[in-house]
């Protein structure tokens, strides 16, 4: 089996690349349609649903903070006995970076804005 450290990074990258290639190729099998009109409205099941803006989103703040806190606790718990700083820093940067980007996305689309 593989004992080369670079595979810890290269393995996941390889899977993501293969995954995206297959996904894009499979897109050729079916038809894709965008536009306006009834067909492209969100499904309401015949119910009178409130507009999207009226939903409270404080829950997202809670979830985002929960996840950030959880990730940092995990990383710190794993790094206390590390022989070098490399892996703790790698996971710290990778994990917190992804969460930061996702949180930014939520903020940009208005998911964190109180209504």
């Amino acid at each position: 089996m593989i004992a080369f450290d670079i595979m810890v990074v290269a393995g996941p990258v390889l899977i993501i690349v293969a995954d995206l290639i297959i996904y894009i190729l499979m897109g050729r099998m079916g038809k894709r349609s965008t536009g306006t009109g009834n067909k492209f409205q969100s499904f309401t099941g015949g119910e009178e649903a409130a507009p999207r803006g009226k939903y409270g989103s404080e829950l997202f703040v809670f979830a985002a903070l929960f996840m950030v806190a959880e990730t940092f606790v995990l990383l710190l718990s794993g790094s206390f006995a590390a022989p070098s700083y490399f892996y703790p820093l790698l996971f710290l940067a990778g994990g917190s970076g992804v969460i930061l980007i996702v949180t930014w996305w939520l903020m940009i689309v208005g998911g964190l804005r109180p209504k």
């Binding site: 004992a3 079916g30 990778g94």
Partner: protein, 323 residues
């Protein structure tokens, strides 16, 4: 050498192998559910209908993808393969043919924990990107459920790490050569299975995607290829979480050594792994079919008031044992 690495990561015992296990799990799940309900289940595609999940996947990919007017188109289209990537990456850290996984380091358990959290967050993003009303209700439930099950799930996973004094999945498997950790931490195993049901959104915790209440939950707006990928991710997560339970609590692929020949012994390790994997899978199929859906407040109360304290008590006992 590079060819071998590519083969292991992408085909066997990596991604493709686990995707097939996911398809088989889906079929067995449907068969088990059907038998317990006095039905026959899938019978058309393949012998005993075992190719039904594969047929469903290709049928969905060939269907029209309708992108809602209000959807965030980029996330809506490219979120599903990233959602799939989470459990897919996790599979390469699972030892299948021996104590050593394809890829392993001293902290891969932490990486897997992060993957599990990322998976839940991706589901939230996908639902929000669709822009549907049902998805918003579903996401609210998903987040409440997530905050409930995540702590016990993490504590349940950290317990074997503490017993093995290792944060590497391969290290934890190696430490179970003498005794499986399910014997030393049975409560953690039970907590893990319950939390896995919540992570997978399976009954009794299928609250975020309850069909009879909120249509398809956060998946309502998806169709065609993105929906096929989301369903495939759920199948893969099924296999991945079962494999994680096998690795952390049931000794992974390790078992009695019967052959001096390393190739024959590797085959035997693979058989041990498959038997344990399907035993855990069957346990999950049975529980999910036998139990009815709980309400979100009941789920939150169950996790915060019972499951979390139980997991912490087990962790405390293990800490005392290891001291």
């Amino acid at each position: 050498m590079i060819g071998t690495e590519l083969f292991e990561i992408l085909l066997f015992p990596g991604l493709t192998f686990f995707v097939w296990i996911g398809f088989i799990f889906d079929w067995l799940d449907r068969k088990t559910q059907a038998r317990m309900q006095g039905r026959r289940g899938p019978i058309m595609a393949g012998r005993y209908g075992y190719l039904q999940p594969v047929a469903d996947f290709f049928k969905l990919t060939s269907k029209e993808e309708i992108i809602p007017e209000v959807a965030d188109k980029f996330v809506f289209l490219f979120g599903p393969p990233l959602f799939f990537a989470a459990p897919a990456i996790g599979t390469i850290f699972i030892p299948v043919l021996g104590a050593q996984a394809i890829v392993s380091n001293d902290y891969d358990l932490l990486f897997v924990l992060f993957i599990l959290a990322f998976s839940a967050l991706m589901a939230t993003m996908l639902g929000y990107a669709g822009g549907g009303r049902w998805a918003i209700i579903s996401i609210g439930r998903l987040v409440v459920q997530y905050t409930g099950y995540e702590i016990p799930l993490v504590v349940a996973l950290v317990t074997p790490a503490l017993l093995a004094r290792s944060l590497s999945i391969s290290g934890i498997v190696s430490a179970q050569q003498g005794m499986w950790f399910i014997v030393l931490a049975p409560v953690s195993f039970i907590v893990f299975i319950i939390s896995a049901l919540a992570e997978l959104e399976k009954p009794p915790f299928d609250i975020p995607s309850a069909k009879t209440e909120i249509v398809g939950g956060w998946m309502t707006e998806f169709s065609g290829r993105p929906l096929a990928y989301i369903k495939l991710t759920k199948d893969l997560s099924y296999a991945f979480l079962s494999a994680l339970a096998v690795s952390l609590f049931l000794g992974g692929p390790l078992g009695p050594v019967l052959f001096a020949n390393p190739i024959l012994q590797t085959v035997l390790y693979f058989i041990y792994f498959i038997v344990k994997l399907f035993a855990v899978g069957f346990l999950i199929f049975t529980i999910k079919t036998a139990l009815a859906r709980v309400k979100i407040d009941q789920a939150a109360r169950l996790f915060w008031m019972l499951i979390t304290p139980l997991s912490l008590i087990q962790l405390g006992i293990v800490m005392v044992l290891r001291w």
